[in-house]
């Protein structure tokens, strides 16, 4: 029973993190029909940022997430301006290949500058701290990261549903031309959406640095999971991404514990294939 609870908690905590990693991808996809292939590398950049801020300046990841969010917002916005904007409206593959190129650039840049070594930040505020909960042990860095992720998703969702800016973003996604007729500068909305997508994954990356090691390839697995989450959750849906991410987190932890650690991603992708075969628009898609 204690094991079950532990596995459940681990799955939920990971799931919340995956949800935040996936939210930015989902938002960009939902509004602009663009797949940001550099999403995982954005995560890696934020992790390196928080790692070095912690290592050199002693700034804890639970502070430096602000820097991660801002820096990745800017990186997202710059990516839109310099790469995406020019590839929109061309061949459908153009933004995909362009962001794929960016991901290679970022990865190899970090490989060269920071070496392929794993780097784990030590001396964090919450390092090694846990709380006991009904026989399970909950590591605090994971718990706080998950709660942060949930809060950021909540703010994002509220912004999209309840503010004029959020309606303008949704309107741009539904009918770009009609949105322009309302006076909405859709160029600005695209820039903002790319920035916000970057900020979400940036905050996630920074927070993760409190318990996960950073290395140039770290984005690969996370972006794969994010793609699965977005496809399962329905493009552009934040609640969909949240539920799908929790599902993926649970499948991963339960299969990893009750079957074997090596099969956990096999199980994740099996669930993905199963759902996509039965419901091509995802579990919660339109």
């Amino acid at each position: 029973m204690g094991n079950f609870l532990q596995v459940l908690i681990d799955g939920l905590l990971n799931g919340l993190l995956y949800a935040l990693v996936a939210a930015g991808l989902s938002l960009i996809w939902g509004v602009m029909d663009v797949i940001n292939f550099a999403h995982g590398e954005f995560l890696m950049v934020a992790m390196y940022l928080s790692y070095w801020l912690g290592f050199l300046l002693d700034i804890d990841p639970f502070i430096s997430w602000i820097a991660g969010g801002i820096f990745l917002f800017l990186l997202g916005a710059v990516t839109y301006r310099l790469i995406i904007k020019n590839s929109l409206g061309k061949a459908a593959m153009a933004p995909l290949l362009a962001t794929f190129g960016l991901s290679m650039l970022l990865k190899n840049f970090c490989m060269n500058v920071f070496t392929p070594n794993f780097r784990l930040l030590s001396g964090n505020w919450l390092e090694g701290r846990t709380i006991a909960f009904g026989g399970a042990i909950v590591p605090l860095p994971q718990l706080v990261t998950a709660l942060f992720a949930f809060a950021v998703l909540g703010v994002l969702y509220w912004m999209l549903k309840k503010t004029r800016l959020g309606w303008a973003i949704q309107a741009t996604a539904m009918d770009k031309e009609a949105a322009e007729l309302m006076g909405i500068d859709t160029e600005r909305i695209y820039l903002l959406v790319f920035g916000m997508g970057g900020a979400c994954v940036g905050i996630a990356g920074s927070l993760m640095t409190s318990y996960l090691a950073v290395y140039p390839e770290v984005g690969g697995l996370f972006s794969l999971i994010a793609f699965v989450v977005v496809a399962l959750g329905g493009f552009g849906s934040i609640p969909g991404a949240l539920l799908a991410a929790l599902l993926i987190g649970l499948v991963e932890s339960f299969s990893g514990f009750y079957i074997a650690a090596v099969v956990k991603y096999v199980a994740v992708f099996a669930v993905y294939l199963g759902v996509i075969l039965l419901r091509p628009r995802g579990l919660f898609g339109w």
């Binding site: 004029r164 309606w167 303008a168 949704q170 309107a171 539904m174 009918d175 031309e177 009609a178 949105a179 322009e180 007729l181 309302m182 006076g183 909405i184 500068d185 859709t186």
Partner: protein, 237 residues
């Protein structure tokens, strides 16, 4: 006084294919002007060019004396010129209320927006009752009311209506035309495209007739209504 809107010798194409050739028209403040023509004549394209959704390759568009030929649509609306496009184009998964709020996107004062909401709710009480409903779940007629109301939320000085009566039952068509007259009475100048040629000319002051992107006739509504040619070509009489 110079006209409110002057379209001077514009030509427009969609990738190579010329659809508007050397078209000129004028609208004076306070008028209702109709653009008539068969399907594919270029009526919507003309309105899209005025609204800034596409830019003519030749000619110019002046609104209240200002050259708006190459302004993007999101700027044109800020000048007080609103286009209600063909086919309603509501934001389907947003509520009626949210659609209307976006109609006033260029207005930042909360009081002003609330006041406009009250005005359009007074004009279309059904929208008040449906304000929390998603736009896509309303009937076609209600959606058309919503599209008109959304346009009015920007408080335009010139309103362009593109086939707003399309697909409505006769009593609703009548209601739409009454609404147009009421909007004009409030001081809004109107440019209207309609399949209901007879009805449109009955409320209009003047009309322009297009054929394959060219102006073929123009005149007062009375002249056009009395013209045998027009009656034959567009009213089936």
């Amino acid at each position: 006084m110079p006209p409110m809107l002057e379209v001077k010798n514009i030509s427009c194409s969609y990738d190579e294919a010329r659809v508007i050739t050397d078209l000129s028209l004028e609208i004076r403040a306070g008028e209702i002007v109709a653009i008539l023509g068969a399907n594919g004549a270029g009526k919507s394209t003309t309105m899209r060019a005025i609204a800034g959704l596409l830019h003519p390759e030749k000619g110019s568009v002046l609104f209240e004396g200002e050259d708006i030929t190459n302004l993007p649509a999101s700027q044109v609306i800020r000048r007080g010129l609103c286009y209600i496009p063909e086919g309603r184009r509501l934001f389907s998964r947003l509520t009626v209320r949210e659609n209307l709020e976006l109609g006033a996107y260029t207005e930042s004062s909360r009081e002003a927006i609330d006041q406009r909401l009250e005005e359009v709710f007074a004009m279309f009480p059904i929208l008040k009752a449906r304000s929390a409903q998603r736009a896509e779940t309303m009937s076609g007629g209600e959606q058309q009311m919503c599209a008109i109301a959304r346009g009015l939320m920007s408080e335009p000085r010139l309103l362009m209506l593109d086939e707003v009566s399309l697909g409505l039952m006769p009593s609703l068509v009548e209601k739409v035309f009454e609404t147009v007259v009421e909007i004009r009475r409030k001081g809004v100048t109107i440019l209207i495209v309609e399949q209901m040629v007879q009805e449109a000319l009955e409320i209009a002051d003047r009309g322009y007739v297009l054929q394959t992107g060219k102006l073929v006739t123009s005149g007062t509504a009375r002249e056009l209504l009395d013209s045998d040619e027009i009656r034959k070509a567009y009213m089936g009489m």
